[in-house]
Symmetry: C2
């Protein structure tokens, strides 16, 4: 730190303003910690050992990292029985990580990574903190936009009056402030689809409703979401989404199409 200069200058502000940012960004700017955070972006709390395993580091190292993340209020801990469960501390943190990911997704899109069955399932449907992402998440967003229920743009999202009725009928609890025109709808850049899906309160509610109806089922300890047979039908009837008619969990034909469309357009 080159803070050996004597007196304060007019530029000190920038340094002070950056100071906290540096701390936070540096925290994310480490492979092990970022891996943990990415894992926790699945939305569910995970134990220290689990996180250590995912980041491929020893438990002692993980413990140190988690301590820092909690200290910086990026993560919350709750003790349950013998285990310590860590989770993303706030939606603000989730949004920050989304933002970083969105920027990271811009650069070097060509580097072709190997795809596994797990990877395919993730690309097909997964949770993003508290809402749905992947092919499914984008498809739902598309359907809602096409139906005039939601408007999405780079800088924000909006639920239309018709959409409010539609989503309420679907079971979404849009809160007591739904009359006050509060906006809970936000676009979130999907890293695999490179398009927007719906985040914010509305996104979380859609996710919740689908889970409650048994349309979707989450993998244990993973971000993967599977569509049940009932979900196939329900999603088609409600949103007009056809997931390929094949097997319930990630029909591979869809992926071929999806990935083909995605990665050929190499332009950012």
């Amino acid at each position: 730190m080159p803070v050996a200069a004597p007196g304060p200058s007019r530029y000190d502000f920038a340094m002070v303003a950056a100071a906290n940012m540096v701390e936070v960004a540096a925290l994310v700017g480490d492979t092990a910690r970022a891996t943990m955070l990415a894992a926790l972006m699945g939305g569910q709390a995970l134990t220290a050992s689990e996180l250590a395993s995912r980041a491929r580091i020893s438990r002692s190292t993980a413990s140190g990292h988690l301590g820092k993340l909690v200290g910086a209020r990026l993560l919350d801990v709750t003790q349950k029985r013998r285990n310590r469960y860590y989770r993303i501390a706030s939606p603000l943190v989730a949004r920050m990580l989304e933002g970083i990911k969105a920027v990271a997704a811009i650069e070097v899109p060509q580097r072709h990574q190997p795809r596994s069955a797990t990877d395919d399932r993730l690309r097909f449907a997964r949770t993003c903190y508290d809402h749905l992402a992947g092919h499914l998440g984008v498809a739902i967003a598309d359907a809602l936009v096409a139906g005039g229920h939601v408007v999405l743009a780079d800088d924000g999202g909006e639920v239309t009056a018709a959409g409010l009725n539609f989503l309420s009928a679907f079971g979404a609890e849009l809160g007591p402030k739904s009359g006050s025109r509060r906006i809970f709808c936000r676009p979130c850049l999907d890293w695999s689809e490179r398009r927007y899906h719906i985040a914010g309160h509305v996104g979380a509610e859609i996710n919740r409703c689908c889970l409650e109806r048994g349309w979707l089922r989450r993998d244990r300890d993973s971000r993967i979401v599977r569509v049940t047979p009932a979900g196939q039908i329900g999603l088609r009837k409600t949103f007009g989404i056809d997931l390929g008619g094949g097997r319930a969990s990630a029909p591979s034909r869809e992926h071929g199409v999806m990935n083909g469309r995605l990665w050929t357009s190499s332009g950012e």
Copy 2:
């Protein structure tokens, strides 16, 4: 990097997914680079030497940092005469930095930093990438919300029908898509006021209009914005904002009130 493990596992995804994030976050997670980025969040392009000076590092070191930032597409460069001007590469990057700053602002709010005249002016009115922030920015946002022209919430912002008329009359160019109900309005967490001001296209337009009318004037090479006498009147008549009636540039009485209200509520 502990990538010595042999076969791929089901957790590789998280690592791959995190890889790019790490790169970007690590870039921001350095004092010198973050200082430069913070300076460039003022919205105007700066030269390499200027940035080196602000970050208090040698030009050679700065050159290295800037090379990395440009390489990662966080910054753009344009050569003009002898100088190289750097600027934030895209609104996506600006949003990311806002997001990091918002998280950073949560923690340790008590640490009382010394305030200078420059600092006070920054807290009073400044640019945030392409829109207005500080006391003034929040006051405008408040006025628009109170007038029913804009709705702001944690997850998004919206311009009402009335607001569309109002802002258009004010001179804001809300684009040809204004009929398609596109949303360009976005809340941006103000680090000094700890409340939202208006960002996105709408925020940029408001800023532009105020500058064009001569209501505001930017400091050269600084994020500081000054309110002209004409601006005093205009802002009061148009938005109903009373900036204290005193001198045009940052009446100190206002700051006392402002800061008192801000930092005493130490709860995040």
